[in-house]
Amino acid sequence: MFLSIKEIKKEKVRYGLIIGMIVLICYLIFILTSLAMGLAQQNTDAIDSWNISSVVLDKDSNTSMTQSMITKDEVKKTKITSKEAYIGQTAVVAKKSGRTNESAQFLGLKDNQFIAKNLVLSSGHKVNKSDQVVVDDKFQTDGYKIGDKIQFNSNNKKYTIVGFTKNAKLNIAPVVYGNISTWKTLKNGNSQVIASAIVSKNANFKTANKQLKTYSISAFISKLPGYSAQNSTFTFMIAFLMIISLIVIAVFLYILTIQKIQNYAVLRAQGIPAKTLVGATISQSITLVVSGLLIGIMLTAITAIAMPAAVPISFNIPILSAIGIGLVLTGLLGSLIPIRIILHVDPVSVIGG
């Protein structure tokens, strides 16, 4: 510890630059990871808020709620309990003159089922008439207000915004919660169609009909349009970033140690045990990586506070902690590589001439 701290103190610029580099690497990884997590979350925010375990869809819908249609006949023999709810999903463009158009996901609900009943609003009240809607607060950010009358697509009928809800995103689009009858109107469906899907809090919920199929929530989410592709892209991007950063940090620490071999040879000649020198090298690497990491975390925290709400970012502490530990372990590894050299440093090499 003595040697490593003294050296950092003497070579402030050199070690400052190395810590700076580690800070930037940590910061880059933290922010990219959080952005990826944020984007991933916007695919599923709304679904996550329902706390459901399974989804029933038409078996020919390719696990897509927007493609699925469930008819009255199909659910005739199925018992719908308080743990189940109908949902009608369709993509809409919401507009009001003087406001920006919003590409949104319309979700039609039944007022007396759990999704509508459990909906948490940030302002306003719940839907109690078919011409009312509750919308994601992205609308609020974009200037919409409670009482605004909006239209969907080219439909002339107007719907009133009566409430806002937080974190209601589906497929990266804000959600408009309305009545399931509104959904039917938007879909121009025949009167036999009653919903796109049945969602249930019961993982083993089954219908009696062969045309309907129950999917687990994870199977359903992985089939959300673009979701898996997007996530694997980000996972690979971050994994490559991690591996390359790890190599860069390890190489830097390796070079640092190699530069000190001369000094170590002198100390070995004087009888300072190799153990002391190995200890100095390891403690120095850890000091550098940990200080870089701490500053990186601070920068990330500042960024988290300063980031505009519109940017999808989500700071997942367990994942970021795991990354942080990974970085420290890499530092350790980088300093362990040259240990063989330290142990075999030849004291005679400094006594020539």
């Binding site: 040697l3 003294k6 003497k10 100390l267 009888g271 300072i272 005679v348 400094v350 001439g353």
Partner: protein
Amino acid sequence: MTTLQLNNINKYFGTGSSRVHVLKDVNFTAQKGELNLVIGPSGSGKSTFLTIAGGLQTPSTGNVELEGKAVKSMSNRQRDAMRLNKIGFVLQAHNLIPYLTVKEQFQLVKKVKKEHNLTNLSLDVLLKQLDIEELQNKYPGELSGGQNQRVAIARALYTRPDIVLADEPTAALDSERVAEVGKIFQTLAREQDTAVIVVTHDLRLIEFADNVYQIMDGQMTLNNNMKTA
């Protein structure tokens, strides 16, 4: 009392036609209380002799005994401990750690060898004698060659070694300083009962020596006539 003994030492470097015979049947003994000077030109094998004497290199043939114990029979750890506790090296170059101040060079030693070092008072006296007591908060890079050399000498003596091995300790010093260093080594031998071995091509040190050896092409001979010459 015989502290250091080298018996029939030969040292070769390389193999086959490129083999060089650097030390040839060297016999050498050093007693406590004496300053031994080994004089020889550059390339004569002085540094090789000194590193073998200090257990940093092994001879090709022959054996080294330290206070009656064969260096060959020691483990690496025992050799480290021997160097730390019994030997004070004054190396030819790169002797100090560049990122430690003069004071910290001693602190580092104290962290590893906790006991039987110079007291703060005796260290102060030594630093004054070497005229470096003002430099304690300076880094080696801020010192002149001669100042560095004197710090290195103080560093070697700090552990109160039984044997001091010095490689060209006066290379960067002017005559006045050479006399000072010569006197320090002489006092060290006589008053601390230390065995001091200095290899050098600096004839100015001869007047302080108890024994003068000459080394030429790896052959060592005792030549105390040089003292009167």
